[in-house]
């Protein structure tokens, strides 16, 4: 049967007072907030929903129509299967269209308004009334049957009793929601009792051997003609008992992992129901013959009479109870449908009204009751079942068809559950069979059903579709509504209902619409200023406000409600004030007077409201006005008010510190209070006062012994249930007192002395296994650390923190880490003792604890423990969460740099980090490491071997690969020689090395910068190996056409180095000098600055390897083997601080461009020394030290033909040493397309005046020119 579509639980149904829901699970802490429903509870709810009084009604109908016991049982099973299929289809719909209202919502969404309306119409007019009629009739059958042991009870009596039952329940439902739910709870037990009895008895019977009718031979013995049409009717009867399954989607809302569990719940619960039903029928059959069963009007009663003997009365009573509850449930939930309909505008508003005070949907209940009474008069129970079964099925089919339609129409809609299309198709086939044959065998009943349904069509078009209804009609409807309102009905928008509607909104837009409508209504009612329901309206507005919608228009209403004489309105008014007003708003001033009045109110609860509001949102002005009142209340006799006044005073002192003096005397006297609340308030107040004023602090230092006494009493007191939290006596108060002691003892020896003993006592006696105890201990530790405590006490405190580290609770471990970190600077040694535990915490599961442990471990690293600690840190690095990696890596680098015991260890550590977390290290790691490697001259061989092996194993860690490439390029000869005593001798061939580098070059994992490193390394190798230079040449030339411009440029340069400048390749590619990281003038900024200043100062300097100190810290500079910025020595005070290091490619690229074509403009601080035949020679000089000067000669060609064989020769006075570098080229391209530069280094130890003679010779189109230029003074402007 179905009690109509019954909703599970109460909180989700029409019950407004939000009683707790079923399906709760207690939490381990003893406090339960309802968890989502688990699988088991979900099954319970579905089973409870489906199994109803139908099983006491339908067996007769099923047996009668199916014609034999066996077939009847088959029908029961088949119905179960079909129900499960239907439920699956509904599950998909339910999660695809998450909207309350069940079938109605689905049909309306898929097939449009008319179909939805028809579903509603039929539910309201037929399904609910018929359901209730059937159950009510069953009820009276079961009540009356025992009174007429030998015959059927009279028809009239039956109907009369059913009507009485119905009227009674309607009245209860109209009276109180609470009562209605209680009835539901009590009577649900009835059906469970009856069913359990029946099944148990059935099993007993079978064990006794009473199963004559179950034997296959007898089971299919037909007692009437078997007819397909009749079987269809049997299905209709059976499905009545399974009714209610279509509401299982309500479970979805709170199910854990609904998309997995909902189908599971269906597969568990529906077979379970089927099992129960089939067994109940089996039980019936064991007790009586089919004929007896058919003759009985109340199967279970007959069953009880046959088997239970004197206890037979139990059966009719429990079934009667069950059915009674069934009628109640149906009545109870029918109103939900009315709400849904009225919300969509499909039903008149009147029907969705509820009584203002009782909160019951009286019009809807009366309407349902009336139509049920009509149903009662028409026909007998089984016809009614056929009737409702047919109509119900009709719409199940339509809904399932809707699922298929939706699949076709919106194939890409998000469907969290997607069942195979086979199921709906199967369902529809069965559906068609059922409808056709039942129509065929009961044309009249089904026809009437269809007819009633069709009457909905004109109603829909007249009432819903037709927008421009005549005035009179609208007036009539409005009149009806206002008549309803006169009878204390309100539109169905009381607070809970509004919340439900808002929660039911499917989209943000829908929600906004609902809220806008509500807000408009609330605003209108605020304006009307009638007294009823004002607090309700404000409460609604507060809910809307919490959802984040504007609610400022309620501010004045708060002010008004606060001034109201009624407590209920004041309470909501003050709540509203705390939420909607803040001290910046003018409206808040308006409530000052009301608060003042309420503070003097006779009821302490009104006073409490005022105090609470003042403490929450009182502005400075308000505080000034009301401080005397509060001070008066502090001296009141009532401790309830006193504790609130104390905290209110705290707020006032925070806002207006000057007012502190006002409260000081009363605060002092409050310390002698016994009530914990007041004491707590007093301690907080004194803390606040002491924090604000040093005089008060001195004054209250005298109270230390008193506080110590109070605290001692707390610690030593026995168990007091009122204040006990996990074995700690009032931890809240203890914590506050300890905090006050901390402030009093800070920087004061005497006060600190007075509390030393107490702190030791608390520290040793408090049990730290629970949070409450730990909180007290933690506060104690903070106090010990803050006051002038004895050293023993401090050690004790650190030990407490150490113990915390071993605690199971990760919160406590975290706290401990945080506190240890704070004191690690001051009590380094004490913390150091817990190093082992701290390091263990690196393995903690909680990422926050890990982070803390890491920070602490890094802080604990020292020269003594670095080796062991670093091992742990490296281990941690290999398994730590990604977000901690870079932090760990840089921490390790810093620690290694500070405390490295040896260079080799240092290099090993960094290499280790690079191998495990190469992707997460900072950019400067590579140059830093390279610098480190170059300085460790005796480790070159070791390092290059190690790096080579690392490179061969893994080329994905970019920074590692970069360093490895650099080292292989630099120390390739050492690698190939293979004589390295520290590693096992591995013979590496030239091909191996080149292979490795080529792999890096070709790998898709390599970053462009890495390829640059690899290419340069390959190039450098060309001077360090003997045989494979051709291979290198080909590699380099391949990259001459690389798509990466940077790489291409580099390759082209190297190519040029191979071809044109082969003679100086060896010099160019010589080993880098040791980089001195700390030499002045080598900081990042200046080098960057030099680059920023412009490429005009960059010149080719081929021997940079030998003279110009190479700049280390920038990757780009290292890459710039050729085009390097050779200006690091130039002091550049005039440079603006560089904003950001230029990106690798831009700076390096820029330099390289110079090398190739000299696109750069002539240098700015330079002198033109020669100009003839289009050849211009400019001179530029940099003073590097007092004696050394670098002179750069730049020649350019503005004529239209190339200048070849360009050479420069220079002569200087004897005391000056001159060193000419190689020119950048001997050809100057025509039309200023390029330049030739040549650097001259001058050393002028005697500081004579510098003169220079330069001979320029070149040939233009075959003719040779030669000129000498005398330069009498070298300009030095550039060096300033």
């Amino acid at each position: 049967m179905s009690d109509g579509p019954r909703q599970r639980g109460k909180a989700a149904s029409v019950d407004g007072d939000g009683e707790p829901d079923s399906g709760k699970r207690p939490e381990s802490s003893g406090v339960a907030l309802k968890k989502e429903i688990g699988l088991v509870s979900a099954c319970g709810i579905i089973v409870g929903n489906i199994i109803g009084s139908g099983i006491f009604v339908s067996p007769k109908g099923v047996l009668e129509n199916s014609g034999s016991v066996g077939l009847a049982l088959l029908v029961w099973m088949a119905t179960g299967v079909i129900t499960a299929i239907g439920a699956l289809c509904y599950a998909e719909l339910g999660v695809t269209i998450p909207k309350s209202g069940g079938d109605y919502a689905y049909v309306k969404d898929i097939f449009g308004g008319l179909a939805g309306f028809l579903r509603l119409w039929i539910a309201v007019l037929v399904i609910y009334p018929t359901n209730q009629a059937v159950i009510a009739l069953t009820f009276s059958n079961y009540v009356l049957q025992p009174l007429f042991p030998s015959c059927f009870p009279p028809e009239g009596g039956l109907r009369l009793l059913a009507a009485v039952c119905l009227l009674l329940l309607t009245w209860v439902n109209c009276w109180s929601v609470r009562w209605a739910t209680r009835v539901q709870d009590v009577f649900t037990a009835g059906k469970l009792l009856a069913l359990a009895l029946i099944i148990t008895m059935g099993i007993v019977q079978i064990c006794k051997g009473q199963y004559y009718w179950l034997e296959p031979a007898h089971a299919f013995e037909t007692f009437q003609d078997c007819d397909v049409g009749m079987v269809a009717l049997a299905f209709l009867q059976g499905s009545f008992a399974y009714g209610g399954w279509n509401f299982l989607n309500y479970v979805t809302e709170e199910l854990v992992d609904p998309y997995v569990n909902l189908p599971r719940a269906i597969f568990i619960s529906i077979p379970l129901v089927t099992f129960v039903y089939v067994f109940a029928n089996v039980a019936y059959i064991t007790a009586m013959s089919p004929q007896e069963l058919l003759a009985s009007n109340a199967v279970a009663v007959t069953f009880g009479e046959k088997l239970l003997g004197v206890m037979s009365w139990i059966m009719p009573i429990s079934v009667a109870l069950s059915t009674f509850g069934g009628v109640n449930g149906s009545l109870f939930t029918s109103s939900r449908l009315f709400f849904a309909g009225a919300r969509e505008g499909h039903l008149p508003r009147l029907l969705s009204m509820i009584h203002v005070k009782r909160c019951t949907p009286i019009p809807a209940l009366l309407f349902t009751c009336l139509s049920t009474l009509l149903m009662l008069c028409t026909s007998d129970i089984y016809t009614l079942i056929n009737y409702v079964g047919f109509i119900n099925y009709l719409f199940y089919g339509v809904t399932v068809a809707g699922q298929i339609v939706l699949r076709v129409k919106q194939p890409h809609m998000h469907r969290p559950i997607k069942v195979s299309l086979l199921w709906p198709v199967l369902y529809l086939l069965f559906w068609a069979f059922l409808l056709l044959f039942s129509l065929y065998s009961e044309p009249l009943v089904c026809g009437i059903g269809l007819g009633i349904m069709l009457t909905g069509v004109p109603v829909y078009f007249l009432g819903v579709y037709w927008d421009s209804k005549p005035q009179s009609f609208n007036r009539f409807i409005n009149k009806m509504t206002s008549v309803g309102q006169k009878f204390y009905m309100s539109p169905s928008v009381r607070l809970q209902e509004m919340i439900r509607v808002i929660r039911g909104a499917r989209t943000q837009g829908e929600e906004r619409g609902v809220i806008q409508r509500e807000c408009a209504a609330i605003r209108a009612q605020f304006r009307q200023a009638d007294t009823g329901g004002r607090s309700h309206n404000l409460a609604k507005l507060l809910y809307v406000h919490m959802l984040g919608y504007p609610a400022h228009f309620g501010q004045m209403e708060c002010v008004r409600l606060i001034a109201s004489p009624r407590y209920s309105e004041k309470r909501v008014g003050y709540l509203g004030a705390m939420l909607l007003l803040d001290e910046k708003q003018d409206a808040s001033l308006l409530i000052t007077n009301s608060i003042k009045n309420d503070l003097a109110h006779s009821s302490q609860y009104v006073q409490s409201l005022a105090l609470c509001t003042l403490a929450c949102m009182g502005s400075a002005e308000m505080c000034k006005d009301l401080a005397p009142e509060i001070e008066r209340l502090l001296r009141a006799s009532n401790s309830y008010i006193k504790k609130k006044a104390a905290l209110c005073a705290v707020h006032i002192v925070r806002k207006v510190p000057e007012l502190g003096e006002l409260f000081t005397p009363s605060a002092r006297s409050l310390l002698s209070e016994k009530n914990h609340g007041v004491l707590h308030g007093a301690v907080v107040l004194i803390t606040e006062l002491c924090e604000r004023s040093p005089e008060t602090l001195t004054q209250f230092r005298k109270a230390v012994p008193e506080l110590v006494q109070v605290m001692k009493a707390l610690v030593m007191s026995g168990y007091s249930p009122e204040h006990n939290v996990a074995g700690i006596s009032d931890p809240f108060l203890q914590v506050r007192i300890l905090r006050l002691l901390r402030i009093l003892g800070r920087n004061d020896d005497m006060a600190s002395d007075a509390m030393n003993d107490l702190l030791a006592q608390v520290a040793t006696n408090t049990d730290s296994s629970k949070t409450a105890g730990s909180a007290v201990l933690y506060e104690t530790v903070l106090t010990i650390m803050d006051i002038k405590s004895e050293s023993g006490l401090r050690v004790l405190a650190v030990n407490i923190l150490g113990r915390f580290l071993l605690n199971n609770d990760r919160n406590i471990r975290y706290i401990s880490m945080t506190s240890l970190q704070k004191i690690v600077q001051t009590d380094h040694n004490a913390v150091q003792r817990h190093r082992g535990t701290i390091v263990d915490c690196l393995k903690d599961q909680d990422a926050s604890v890990k982070r803390r442990a890491l920070e602490l471990s890094l802080a604990l690293v020292s020269a003594v423990n670095i080796r062991s600690l670093m091992k742990e840190l490296l281990l941690f690095l290999s398994c730590c969460p990604l977000e901690l990696r870079s932090h760990t890596a840089s921490g390790i680098f810093n620690a290694a740099e500070r405390y490295a015991p040896s260079q080799r260890w240092h290099i090993d550590t960094i290499l280790h980090v690079l191998t495990t977390a190469g992707g997460d290290v900072r950019d400067e790691t590579v140059p830093n490491l390279i610098q480190l490697i170059t300085t460790a001259t005796d480790l070159h061989c070791y390092t290059v071997h190690k790096l080579y092996r690392a490179l061969v194993t893994d080329i994905s860690q970019q920074s590692l690969v970069q360093v490895a490439c650099w080292c292989i390029g630099e120390y390739g000869d050492l690698l190939l020689r293979g004589e390295c005593e520290e590693t096992e001798p591995v013979q590496v061939t030239e091909d191996d090395v080149l292979d490795a580098l080529e792999t890096v070059l070709q790998s898709h994992m390599s970053a462009p910068a890495t390829r640059g490193f690899a290419l340069t390394a390959t190039m450098k190798l060309s001077t360090r190996i003997t045989n494979n230079v051709d291979r290198i040449r080909s590699v380099v030339s391949i990259y001459g056409s690389c798509i990466d411009v940077e790489l291409q440029q580099r390759a082209v340069e190297y190519n040029a180095l191979f071809k044109k400048y082969d003679h100086m390749r060896a010099a160019v590619l010589e080993r880098m000098p040791v980089i001195d990281k700390n030499s002045p003038g080598h900081t990042n900024g200046e080098i960057v600055g030099g680059t920023v200043k412009g490429p005009d100062q960059t010149k080719i300097k081929l021997e940079e390897g030998t003279e110009a100190p190479q700049s280390a810290p920038q990757v780009c500079d290292l890459l710039d083997l050729l085009g390097g910025s050779d200006e690091p020595l130039q002091p550049s005070p005039a440079l603006p601080p560089p904003s950001a290091p230029p990106s690798l490619s831009s700076s390096a690229g820029g330099d390289l461009l110079d090398l190739l074509g000299g696109l750069a403009p002539p240098p700015a601080p330079c002198v033109k020394v020669y100009e003839q035949n289009g050849v211009t020679l400019t001179l530029q000089s940099d003073r590097q030290t007092d004696t050394a000067i670098t002179v750069t000669l730049i020649a350019s060609n503005s004529s239209h033909c190339d200048i070849t064989q360009f050479t420069l020769q220079a002569a200087v006075p004897k005391s000056v040493q001159l060193q000419m570098k190689a020119p950048s080229s001997d050809v100057i391209p025509a039309d200023g397309l390029g330049q030739v530069t040549q650097t001259v280094l001058l050393n002028n130890p005697n500081k004579v005046s510098l003169r220079m003679r330069v001979r320029v010779s070149y040939s233009v189109q075959g003719s040779t020119f030669q000129d000498t230029v005398q330069i009498d003074s070298i300009p030095t402007a550039a060096c300033e």
């Binding site: 909180a11 407004g16 939000g18 707790p20 829901d21 939490e27 406090v31 339960a32 907030l33 309802k34 968890k35 109180s176 005070k357 919340i499 409460a539 919490m546 984040g548 407590y567 209920s568 309470r571 709540l575 705390m578 939420l579 803040d582 910046k584 609860y605 609470c612 403490a615 929450c616 502005s619 905290l647 209110c648 925070r654 914990h676 609340g677 707590h680 308030g681 907080v684 924090e691 009122e722 204040h723 939290v725 809240f732 108060l733 914590v735 905090r739 949070t771 409450a772 730990s774 933690y778 506060e779 990760r810 919160n811 406590i812 471990r813 975290y814 909680d846 990422a847 926050s848 604890v849």
Partner: protein, 177 residues
């Protein structure tokens, strides 16, 4: 925008001078706000911004993580009870563990009041949840350390409210008394 955010941080900083609880938020696992209590004066806009940011931060944390996090210059203490997160912001000097106890105490109170409370109770009776909070905390400090006293006070106040709403009790109306 950045300037605004900065001004906001300043605002919090200015207030951050003691041990006071700054605000308390209750929100669901879906990020829906269920209750908010502010003990510092902030504009609606700021409140919304803070709420949004915090809800995101807290929801992103894994269950294995501890209940504390540092956020701006405040400490956030949160705890999840079933589908609800209880989240408090306290100042730097404050004791996180006792704040956890305060949250737990509030949950216990709700539980006692509603009789094994669930999220729906708090949704549909949010005003009751506020009343209970106001009876337990005042201006961001615990005002009563005894559970019994808080519940007693709430019951009394509820009675007072019912009296104000319905002059006669339901039983009287039925005629049972």
């Amino acid at each position: 925008m950045a300037a605004l955010a900065y001004a906001h941080v300043l605002c919090i900083k200015r207030l951050n001078t003691g041990f006071k609880m700054q605000f308390m938020l209750l929100f669901s696992r879906q990020g829906k706000l269920r209750l908010q209590k502010w003990y510092v004066p902030l504009s609606d806009k700021e409140k919304k911004k803070i709420t949004r940011e915090l809800v995101q931060t807290v929801l992103a944390r894994k269950p294995k993580m501890c209940s504390f996090l540092e956020w701006r210059d405040l400490k956030i203490v949160y705890k999840r009870y079933a589908s609800l997160y209880f989240c408090c912001a306290i100042e730097n000097q404050d004791n996180e563990l006792i704040t956890l106890e305060i949250i737990h105490r509030y949950v216990e109170l709700l539980d006692k009041y509603f009789g094994s409370v669930c999220e729906l109770d708090i949704i549909f009776n949010f005003e009751k949840a506020y009343f209970i909070l106001d009876e337990f905390l005042l201006g961001g400090e615990a005002q009563e350390t005894s559970k019994k006293n808080v519940l007693k006070a709430i019951e009394q106040a509820d009675l007072l409210q019912e009296e104000a709403e319905t002059p006669r009790s339901v039983l009287e109306e039925i005629g049972l008394t």
